[in-house]
Symmetry: C4
Subunit: 200 residues, 4 copies
């Protein structure tokens, strides 16, 4: 199976996910003043955070697939599984945007992020497995994956804390986004290092 | 005509179909509790099943086009015909999600799945015909196509049974999805086998 | 400028146009019976016709760009102009679907089709002009372009007749779609003929 | 990182942005006459202007990326930043279309255009920086970037003037669109000139 078409399909789905979220931002038709904008402000804020999250996933997905050399049926379904959870981000983004101070929307937002992270780990595991286990380049590159290990913990904390103080949960989610915004150069560096080592 | 652009266009349409379905999941704006989520639960469930179905079609479409070597006008229109039926999946998914216990929505869901399956068979036939009839690699690979033969029967059963017991129909649809989730390795195996036989 | 990216962008926009039309088909949430479906029947019918029209444009656009060898800024804007009119098809499709027996929606549907056809002719002219005028392969291939000449006449007739008898206009539009469904082999034949003549 | 996938993803997002704007044009379901169309006229006009703006960005983005030779993480995030602001264009387009005579929507439309322009300049700066600073081909080509310098001034004027006379602001925005519609041949000319100078 061609890797190109898997990448193209994933890019298409992620591009749609990142864009249709904007359809949630509906400035009330009966309002033409700054107060109408004020009412949709939490929705715009939640859109911004989710935009960054989906952007991070696109970026990391890009690197991950770049490191992969073959695409098995298992990888393809693990990829669809990841896309499924990502596709729910617009739903929970809209919900948390409409009810930023309620417990359940904020908690569920964390659940979708956590499931996306787990789906990503499964996809990563599939790709590593199909490339010779932990001896492969990718597994080596991801050796010190502290970001990937910290994020689920923060999501899990956010899911629970939402029932006590939603704002704290939201702060945790924003923290995870900020951690990842610092681009993941591990794989890049590894690939370059390998290239330099072999003189290519 | 280039196969690449047909694949790219199909990928685009399928990516949109699989993603816009999520727009049906509208958590009520007036609800911020778990009960609001409870009300949309059947919609999320129907979304999940349809997501798997569209994913299966993307996967199989991928393999089918991979086996094709040339694209005629007939293949192109057979492909658009398939995309037309797939594009109706979000419509019936939303309807069955809003009325999971009614006969007509569940029945119509089966009709769209059945028509999609028939459109797929027509596309398959067109591709086989343009590659030398049943002597081609593809026709050989699809020789024992029990999944492709069983699915329409289960859809047809579901269409009728919906008027007696919609839940049974829904169970039949889920069964078909489960059957296909086990990835179709026939074509892959055949291609590999051919490769091995010729030593390539 | 690369032809590939122009094709990819056009494919993306056309794929979205052909798919978001389906969002117009909203089966009433309060209806779970066959009568609810009956009420959306004209919308489904108008969707089908528009799906065929957009499919025809994608097909012809595909052939047209295939014949082009270079992409100038003029071609790019002529292409965006065509995409603009095509993007209005979902709007008028929804309107005519909701009011199949009213004059204005049916007339406006024809206006959008007519403008799309004119935009296509402009794009075609730009491509011919940038390839050496009427001596080019494309201009030769399109020499007997009776379909392209008949369609605007039928659209224009439909625009006017809508104010007398909308059903007649709708029949005219369906006729145009049917004429084009017979795939346009002119360019293909020409290309093949040229290839044979030069022995390649 | 491959430039191809960045281009493809950007094309996908821009294609969706330019197309989903049309979803804002909802001809009232209860109206079948020309008056119903009259009510959505400002929305269609705002859609047309935004369509041109997004088309301009796609065009310029195309040239900019064409000149780039490598894609760093910084370029990728600068690109996502640009896409974020572009994705807000449908939101403000809908708002200004519903309230063409109000101050805030027209002003905010200018804010989104201004932020998009700034994001474009940042992306441009990143690409120039990663190609050897102002000595690179791109920086040279953009030397006399009067359009890029004039546009933000006109946007800024529009943002303020909206609170006095929204129509004047809208005229300013249309003027910017008209300025850019004249295609940007600077980079093209430069590339061709370089090619001629070196005899290639």
């Amino acid at each position: 199976m061609g890797k190109g078409r898997l990448e193209a399909f994933s890019d298409g789905v992620i591009a749609i996910i990142i864009t249709i979220m904007v359809l949630e931002i509906r400035i009330p038709e009966d309002g033409a003043g700054i107060d109408a904008l004020g009412r949709v402000w939490p929705i715009i804020a939640s859109y911004l955070v989710s935009f960054v999250f989906v952007g991070i996933y696109w970026n990391n997905h890009h690197h991950l697939l770049h490191a992969a050399q073959k695409v098995s049926a298992g990888i393809m379904w693990a990829n669809l599984h990841l896309l499924f959870w990502l596709s729910l981000i617009p739903v929970v983004t809209g919900w948390v945007g409409h009810h930023p101070e309620a417990a359940w929307p904020t908690s569920l937002y964390g659940v979708v992020l956590l499931c996306s992270a787990i789906a990503y780990v499964i996809l990563q595991g599939r790709i590593i497995a199909s490339h010779g286990g932990d001896r492969s380049l990718l597994a080596h590159a991801l050796g010190a994956d502290w970001k990937g290990k910290l994020s689920p913990l923060l999501y899990a904390a956010g899911i629970g804390i939402a029932f006590v103080q939603p704002q704290v949960s939201q702060l945790l989610y924003v923290t995870v986004a900020a951690i990842w915004l610092i681009p993941d150069r591990r794989i890049e560096r590894e690939l370059v290092g390998e290239g330099e080592a072999t003189g290519s």
